[in-house]
């Protein structure tokens, strides 16, 4: 299935095997049933970073199962105001 991926605030795809290596925006094919946790492993995002993930404008937890055409936004911890 295909995902629309947006990485923010300095996050980048860290997997040299992927076409989006080093990038923060991409459309990516992943296996059906991929969870947010598995996606971050696929993208090789530093496991030490606690991620905030938005799927189609909703905050979702790491075990959330993604669907075809989902838009996934990932953020490291951020704040402001």
């Amino acid at each position: 299935m295909k995902l629309e991926i947006r990485l923010f605030a300095g996050l980048r795809c860290g997997n040299p095997e992927l076409p989006c290596y080093g990038q923060s925006e991409c459309d990516l094919e992943v296996p059906e049933g991929t969870t947010i946790r598995e996606l971050r492993t696929i993208l090789a995002i530093d496991p030490a970073i606690s991620l905030l993930s938005m799927v189609n404008n909703h905050h979702e937890h790491e075990e959330w199962v993604l669907k075809d055409n989902d838009r996934v936004g990932m953020f490291p911890p951020i704040g402001g105001g």
């Binding site: 605030a9 953020f75 402001g80 105001g81």
Partner: protein
């Protein structure tokens, strides 16, 4: 901070200074001091621009010490914008200098009989007040340049621009940063108009010959401060996100969450918001030789600010905050950072609140004065404000006035103060704060975004009503207390997540004053401040019916969540039932 100076601007024969002991306000600072004093001394039904109103400048409880992050200055009065009590705070150098000079507060009272413009010089020898009509109709940047020729660079300046002189309801009070730029503003509520009404154009604070305020228990204080700083550096928000990208890092997350009010609150996402993002802004700042990491006062270890240069590498403005980039950006359908930066400079220079002005321009766009997305048009409207034309005066009096003058229905205000950069239909918790805070719509009063969106200090679903009242209540209480300490509110991200950093803050307060400070004491302080503010507002005629959002938030669902504001009136009425 053992004295209070009262300056009667209306005294016969010219302004008169009276010094007094801090008395009942001992140990208080910042918002606690301004709000308790205004609630006690100002007639709640007075005209905010009249002689009966008072304008209080108070450094925080820990300002002027060696403690990190302690440089917030609170300004309190009855607000001419909202008619409620008002505390508006800013960074910059002023609080540290005023505290080292020994003042718990400087209070401007009365009203001068003439049109003369005054400047107030405060140094170790006391307070001198003089007429200086050569400062008339100077905006903040040229004003500070002129004052620097006379008073030099080792001082802090508190000033108003032309908006304050003209008593416009969006007028701010500017405090200079370490480089003496008038960029840190007590923005909200028209406090600059009150300073203008008192006839005071500038306050010059010179702490030469003064020392840091000494703690009662110096070693304990040093130790607690060290732990506190460690905690701020360790937390990813205060240690990494804010220093790298500033507050504007929020653009992408709010847009992604569908809570980014766009085209005057018509939709919750802006298609080209990425062009306005903190990431894009930081990259541009660095590329142009500015910086994305800068402290608004010495002693700030988070350094969320920055310097924004123009394309030729010349200073244009300080790093515009998220709220500013939103109000002048997405809210108006503008996706150009250079336009936003120019407007930010104009706001600071003229001396107006960036949130109020941006929201007002969006309302003016809804009225058809200019089109959404019209960059040059937005700048032209700001020029009108700077010139004080009739249209400029209407706009400079904020969104509520502009909406009334032009017959606009969708006017995003509570108690006539413009809503900030978070849509309450997509983020119910912040709507509770907007509706109920004593200040008129204000995100900082109880920043539910932290828990609704950023998942700091817990996780409350932004699209549901459950848990929002309690969240907003707790945040409003904590904020009232933090606003009293002189600490920048951004410490909250670390103290909400890290109990040891909160303990370090308590230990700093305890060691400084030689007392034991517990979490319960902080809660009690916050409640005391809020109660005094609520009492003032009640006597000023505010009822629970004023603690509501404009009707369109209840009737117009917003994309992408297609939700309205769902909190029931009875739930909102529970916020202050503790």
């Amino acid at each position: 901070m053992d004295k209070i100076a009262r300056i009667d601007m209306g005294a016969a024969g010219g302004p008169k200074v009276t010094m007094e002991e801090v008395g009942e306000y001992v140990g208080l600072g910042g918002r606690a001091l301004t709000s308790l004093l205004i609630a006690k001394e100002v007639h709640p039904l007075c005209h905010a621009l009249g002689a009966e109103n008072k304008l209080v400048f108070a450094p925080g409880m820990l300002s002027g010490t060696a403690g990190a992050m302690t440089g917030r200055l609170s300004v309190g009065c009855k607000s001419p914008l909202t008619g409620t009590i008002k505390e508006s705070n800013a960074g910059g150098q002023a609080a540290q200098v005023l505290a080292r000079l020994g003042y718990a507060a400087i209070i401007l009272e009365g009203k001068p009989a003439s049109d003369d413009l005054y400047k107030i010089h405060v140094n170790k020898d006391g307070i001198q007040i003089s007429v200086d009509n050569s400062l008339k109709l100077l905006d903040n940047y040229p004003l500070v340049d002129k004052l620097r020729k006379e008073y030099g660079d080792k001082v802090a300046y508190i000033t108003i621009g032309t908006a304050g002189e003209r008593k416009l309801l969006a007028a701010s009070i500017a405090c200079t940063d370490p480089e003496l730029r008038p960029t840190r503003h007590c923005g909200r509520g028209g406090v600059g108009a009150v300073m203008g009404a008192k006839g005071v154009k500038a306050i010059i604070l010179d702490d030469a010959g003064m020392k840091m305020r000494p703690p009662k228990e110096p070693e304990k204080y040093r130790d607690a401060n060290r732990k506190f700083v460690e905690g701020l550096r360790k937390h990813p928000v205060t240690g990494e996100g804010l220093p790298a990208y500033g507050t504007n890092v929020l653009t992408n997350v709010l847009n992604e969450a569908g809570g980014y009010p766009t085209y005057n609150f018509k939709t919750g996402q802006f298609a080209t918001s990425a062009k306005l993002s903190g990431e894009a802004q930081a990259e541009l700042e660095i590329k142009r030789g500015g910086t994305a990491t800068h402290g608004c006062h010495r002693g700030c270890v988070i350094q969320c600010s920055g310097i924004y240069n123009d394309k030729d590498g010349h200073y244009l403005t300080k790093q515009p905050e998220y709220e500013t980039v939103w109000s002048h950006g997405g809210h108006c359908g503008i996706d150009d950072l250079d336009t936003v930066a120019r407007l930010d400079f104009m706001d600071d220079n003229i001396g107006v609140d960036t949130i109020e002005m941006g929201v007002t321009i969006g309302v003016a766009m809804d009225a058809g004065i200019i089109e959404f997305g019209d960059k040059e048009g937005a700048i032209r409207l700001m020029e009108e404000v700077g010139k004080g034309t009739p249209l400029g005066r209407v706009l400079g009096c904020g969104a509520a006035v502009t909406g009334k003058v032009y017959g606009v229905e969708r006017v995003p205000v509570v108690k006539d103060q413009a809503l900030p950069a978070y849509d309450p239909r997509a983020i119910q918790g912040i709507g509770v704060t907007y509706a109920t805070t004593t200040m008129g719509a204000d995100h900082t009063a109880g920043y539910a975004i932290a828990t609704n969106i950023l998942k700091v200090g817990g996780d409350v679903d932004p699209l549901k009503t459950e848990g929002q009242v309690e969240l907003s209540r707790n945040l409003q209480i904590a904020t009232a207390a933090i606003d009293s300490t002189g600490m920048c509110l951004f410490i909250a991200f670390a103290i909400m997540d890290q109990p040891e950093t909160f303990q370090a803050l308590l230990d700093m307060l305890g060691a400084f004053y030689g007392i034991t400070m517990t979490g319960d004491d902080v809660v009690a302080l916050g409640k005391k401040v809020l109660s005094a503010e609520r009492d003032f507002n009640a006597r000023a005629g505010f009822t629970k019916q004023h603690d509501r959002l404009p009707r369109f938030f209840y009737t117009e669902p917003i994309a992408p969540h297609n939700q309205t504001f769902m909190m029931k009136d009875e739930e909102l009425d529970e916020v202050f039932n503790w």
